[in-house]
Each structure stands twice: as C-alpha cells, then as structure tokens.
C-alpha cells in the first residue's frame, strides 16, 4: 500500500457530491479546450483526413503525451497511485472492428461524440444532428447487443498495456510514445506547409 493521496475519490477524500462537482468542473474545462482548439467545427476537424489541417492530431497527441507524462511522474513521486486509476480494459477484436465502424462514421459525421456536443452547444445544427444520430445508434446497438454477445466478449485481455506487450519498463514505453508524438508533429508541420 503506497502513501499516495490520489486518486482523491479513491482515498476517501472526495465524497459522492464532490465527485459530481469534479465531473462538472472537468466537463466544463474539457468542453472549453475542445472549443478553443476549433474541433467543434466539422470543417476544421475533417481537414485531418484530407491533410489540410492537422489540428486533430496535434491536439490529441499533445493531450495524450501531457496526461501520460503527468500520470507517470506523479506516480513516481508517490502522489498518484497509477494502479488505482481505471485503465480501459482490452477486447482486441471488438475494439478493432468497433474502431473501424466508428472511424467510418466519423468521416461522414465530421464530428466525434465529444466535439458534436460542443458543435451543438455553439449553434451548429449539424452538431445537433450528429448528437441525435449518436443517441439513436447507441440505443439501437445496445438493444441488439445480446445477439452479438459472443463477438462483443471475444478476445478479452483484461487490463493489458503496451509495456505488457513489448515487455519493457513503463518509462521506456512512455519515452517511445513521446518520440512517436514528436515525429508525428514534425510530419504534420511539413504536410501543412505544402
């Protein structure tokens, strides 16, 4: 048992109400960042797929690297117990196929679930239409899920991380992701400069 105080909710330092207050504050900041970056605009977002505006890659990879480095260092310093942060579990095939279906829908919609809400909140009717479609899609797929249960539960790997795959220390993989991001940023700048 480490002496880490975070996650606060897990350490009993944040009650149910505090947790919901945190949800609201985190959501406001999340929506703010998405709007400021311009990703609440479908035309700006799809620039990623036509290689004219790579804001999606820059924003997402910067965010991933920042959160990854922050979590890694806070854990190392004994502030955050990374073992108590919920890591999304792995189901290889459903996540590959679901991801591909999601990506096809993303190219048509021009907005992802989070950014469609920002688009709708800032007056874009296309954003509101994506929100409506998402709700219908989740409702219909949820209702139909029992019939594809075998596939949905297939290739389960539980909590499974990249360091587990490559059998290297966590910090080495963190460094590799940072290098990958810096390389991607360099490519993105060159593509945009064309």
């Amino acid at each position: 048992m480490s002496g880490a105080v975070a996650p606060l909710a897990d350490a009993g330092l944040l009650g149910a109400r505090g947790s919901l207050a945190a949800a609201l504050a985190i959501g406001v900041a999340f929506g703010w960042c998405l709007e400021r970056s311009g990703l609440g605009s479908a035309r700006k977002l799809v620039g990623q797929f036509y290689l004219t505006d790579l804001a999606v890659l820059k924003v997402m990879f910067s965010a991933i690297v920042t959160a990854m480095l922050g979590a890694f260092w806070l854990d190392l310093l004994g502030v955050l117990d990374l073992g108590r942060v919920y890591v999304p579990q792995t189901w290889l095939l459903p996540q590959l196929v679901g991801g591909a279906i999601f990506g096809a829908g993303l190219a048509l919609a021009g907005l992802c679930p989070g950014t469609s809400c920002v688009a709708a909140a800032t007056g874009r009717a296309d954003g509101a239409a994506v929100v409506a479609g998402l709700f219908a899609g989740v409702l219909a797929t949820g209702a139909a899920l029992p019939s594809v249960r075998a596939f949905y539960e297939s290739t389960a790997r539980g909590t499974f991380t990249l360091p587990d795959v490559v059998r290297l220390p966590y910090g080495v993989v963190v460094l590799a992701v940072v290098v990958l991001a810096l390389g991607a940023f360099a490519v993105a700048e060159r593509l945009e400069a064309r």
């Binding site: 406001v28 505006d53 899609g137 949820g142 991380t161 360091p163």
Partner: protein, 205 residues
C-alpha cells in the same frame, strides 16, 4: 423559422447566440463580421492539447478515471430503454450497467457531458464564435449534410458501443494510460476514417 437554403444568407440571432454575424462555411482563422467585430481565431493546437491533457490528468488525480462522451449517450439510452420497458432496461446487460441509482443527474459521465456543453458554449461566447450554422462541404446541400450527420452519428454510436468507448474514453483516456485496446481502437478508427474520407471526398471537398 424559414429553412436555411444558403449558408451565406442571414442568420438568426438571439439571447443564447447573440453574435449573429455573417454565416459562412467555417474553417477556422479570423473572420471579420459585418458589425466589424472579429471572432477570435482558434487557439494554438499544441497549447490547447497540453491544456486538454492537464484536464485529463486532473480527472485521473481527482476521481481515478478519465474523460468520456459516449458513456453519457449510453446512460441516456439505458434510461429511455428502462422507461419504455423495464424488461428491456434491466434485462439487457449493456443498458443495466449504464443505469445509475441516482438517475441521470447522479451519473458522473452525464454530469461531465453537461459540463462539456456549458464549457463549449461559454468558450465560444467569449470568443464571439456562437452562431447558427450548418457546416458542410462546398458541394453538399443543408438537407443532405444533416442526413449525413445523423447517419454518421448513428454509425459512430454503433462502433463506440462495440469498442466500449470513443475518441474520449478510449483514444485520450486509455491512450495516455497505454491500454492496448485503446491503441487498437485508434488504429482501427483512423485507418477506417482515412479510407472513408477518400470515398467521401465529394462530401467535404
């Protein structure tokens, strides 16, 4: 209200969306408005990305979980299914796991997404970027664009249910925690998005 035929026609302006201004095909950058007030250009993507990463990190630190978006849609869908039919709402394992005792407003991810709506609106209001518009490609009509948006949204919803998350819950949250499934999701999503975008180039370019 009369249907919007041309995005370059006049836009509505109201209490919630006070800026009005010339509706245009939005793409980013500075846009001069008729009134002479310019909407602020979007912020630097690296800077907003780092800010977004700090928001994600604060979620790990405060509540031990990351961000999400699709989860709120799942909670809303489960609630509707439960209202329509208790058997559907409780008997379906997917809906059952997205029902919260305290109702929708006691659901962490629903409250988080209400915050997203509020934060997105406030940010756009302060930057004078609120406006009624339908963003679309140059060769696509408003009705066609809205139909594509609903369809694309529904397809994304199906994919996000199967993948157990979207760009927020998988790509950002799981990506930064180095989850294999999240990186597999990113590979599948962006691979398919590039392929689909090529086929859909008439829609956007």
């Amino acid at each position: 209200m009369r249907p919007m035929k041309d995005p370059s026609g006049p836009t509505a302006s109201c209490f919630l969306f006070p800026t009005g201004g010339p509706p245009e095909r939005l793409g980013g950058g500075i846009r001069k408005q008729e009134s002479g007030r310019a909407s602020t250009p979007y912020s630097d993507p690296y800077l907003t990305g780092v800010a977004l990463g700090l928001v994600l990190l604060s979620a790990y630190v405060l509540v031990g979980r990351g961000l999400g978006a699709t989860g709120a849609f799942a909670s809303a869908a489960a609630t509707v299914a439960d209202i329509v039919s208790h058997a559907q709402g409780r008997g379906n394992a997917y809906f059952a796991e997205h029902l919260t005792e305290g109702g929708l407003l006691g659901d962490w991810i629903v409250v988080e997404m209400l915050g997203v709506l509020l934060g997105g609106w406030a940010s756009a209001a302060l930057a004078r970027r609120l406006r009624f518009a339908v963003e679309r490609g140059p060769r696509v009509g408003v009705g066609e664009r809205l139909a594509f948006a609903v369809t694309g949204g529904a397809v994304m919803g199906a994919g996000a249910v199967l993948a157990r998350g979207c760009t927020s819950g998988q790509a950002l949250t799981g990506g930064a925690l180095l989850s294999v499934g999240s990186w597999v999701f990113v590979a599948g999503a962006f691979g398919a998005a590039y392929a689909a975008a090529y086929l859909l180039r008439r829609v956007w370019t």
